[in-house]
């Protein structure tokens, strides 16, 4: 057991692959966080497989347990999308469902004891492994940038020339158009950052607190660990919901002409 700062630092290190020469270690921008990538891929495959399994074995008359769970999620997302979004796009609802399920599942990995997977893997010679992909800015930004480009796409395709008028005249009228443009650009560019950093911040802080709790003596960990884990269940769900909800709201704003 090393010192406390070392322990924390150890837990905040990604397992990285240098893409320029395919060795373990950092390679500047051309680095792949293997842990984030592999866990993200595994959770994505799991979601795809389970939901596809349910979709293939869909029963109208007698739904099974798994089908009920998936149906509840889909019904919930479908209702939320229909309440907020009034456009015609068939992409928004599946996108929202994917965001919710994926973020929720990745967040849930935060409840796995912090040392469990890393110590298992260290026996196999892997030095660092962060299992919560949403505590990695690359993960959260990959989703928020997708949303950002979709916002731009719908702004241009749905509004057409009206977009120019909207950018120039709202919110302060045509005479203050430079301020309007500045405000609009600021508003649009803040969206991906706020989406990504909110999720990242919550999950990173949650993980850090688990790491801190793990440094307490073993006989006293259960109380703060239990309390924080129970509270974290709420954060996990709420953060997945907020990301999904804001995505829907942003995309419906991109559809609505002011």
């Amino acid at each position: 057991m090393s010192t406390a700062p070392n322990y924390i630092e150890h837990h905040l290190q990604h397992l990285q692959l240098n893409l320029t020469n395919f060795t373990i270690g950092s390679g500047g921008f051309w680095t792949l966080n293997l842990d984030t990538f592999i866990v993200g891929l595994m959770t994505a495959v799991l979601i795809g497989a389970v939901t596809r399994y349910v979709a293939v074995n869909m029963q109208v008359g007698r739904p099974g347990h798994l089908q009920n769970v998936v149906e509840v999620a889909i019904g919930f997302v479908d209702r939320t999308v229909r309440e907020t979004y009034h456009g015609k796009s068939q992409l928004i609802a599946p996108l929202a469902l994917t965001l919710f399920l994926w973020i929720f599942l990745m967040n849930t990995l935060d409840l796995v004891p912090v040392d469990f997977i890393p110590s298992l893997l260290s026996m196999a010679g892997v030095e660092h492994f962060k299992i919560v992909p949403t505590a990695d800015v690359n993960m959260t930004f990959s989703m928020s940038i997708t949303v950002f480009f979709l916002i731009l796409f719908y702004n241009f395709t749905v509004k057409g020339w009206k977009l120019g008028k909207e950018v120039l005249t709202s919110p302060f009228g045509p005479w203050l158009f430079p301020v309007n443009i500045f405000f609009r650009l600021l508003e649009e560019f803040v969206k991906p950052f706020s989406l990504a950093l909110r999720l990242f911040g919550n999950m990173f802080a949650g993980e850090l607190i688990f790491v801190l709790i793990a440094m307490l003596p073993w006989w006293s960990q259960w109380l703060p660990g239990g309390i924080w884990a129970i509270f974290h269940i709420l954060i996990i769900t709420v953060q997945a919901f907020i990301f999904m909800m804001l995505t829907i709201v942003y995309l419906s704003m991109a559809h609505d002409v002011h």
Binding site: M58, E71, I74, L91, P94, P133
Partner: protein
């Protein structure tokens, strides 16, 4: 916290997952859910209709029972009347028959009385003749006596 190529990798994973969900998961599940909603709506409607039908049937059954009761009362009443009528008729017939039999008997009796009287008269006349013969053999002319006796018989 550093931005690196993981971002691109995750973008690709995310895009594929969204595409997969949109293409292969969302449509069949929502379709089945809508189908179920329709089935449930149809079931509720059918239940409502069946309830109405049951109400109507119960109403109809009640009215049928009511009619049947009324008819039955009619039938019983007319049966009572008819039986009284039959009884009356039978009494009448019996009385008539009795009277006829009595009349017949009276006739018969009358005839037999007349017959008996005739027989008796004959026997009496013969007895009288025998008695007279015996008397006349003693003293008088038989022919004169017989004339007298015939006159006497005719007067009887």
């Amino acid at each position: 916290m550093e931005i690196n190529a993981t971002l691109i990798g995750q973008l690709i994973t995310f895009a594929i997952l969204v595409w997969f969900i949109m293409k292969y998961v969302w449509p069949p599940i929502t379709k089945a859910m809508q189908e179920r909603e329709k089935v449930i709506a149809a079931g509720l409607e059918a239940a409502e209709r069946a309830k109405h039908e049951l109400d109507a049937a119960q109403h109809k059954a009640l009215s049928i029972i009511h009619d049947a009761k009324r008819d039955a009362t009619h039938v019983i009443e007319s049966a009572h009347k008819r039986s009284a009528q039959i009884l009356e008729d039978a009494k009448e017939t019996a009385r008539e028959e009795g009277e006829r039999i009595i009349a017949l008997a009276k006739d018969e009796i009358g005839r037999e009385v007349i017959q008996a009287k005739t027989v008796l008269r004959k026997q009496l006349s013969e007895l009288a003749v025998q008695g007279a013969e015996k008397i006349i053999k003693h003293n008088l002319d038989a022919s004169l006596q017989k004339t007298l006796l015939d006159e006497f018989v005719a007067e009887l």
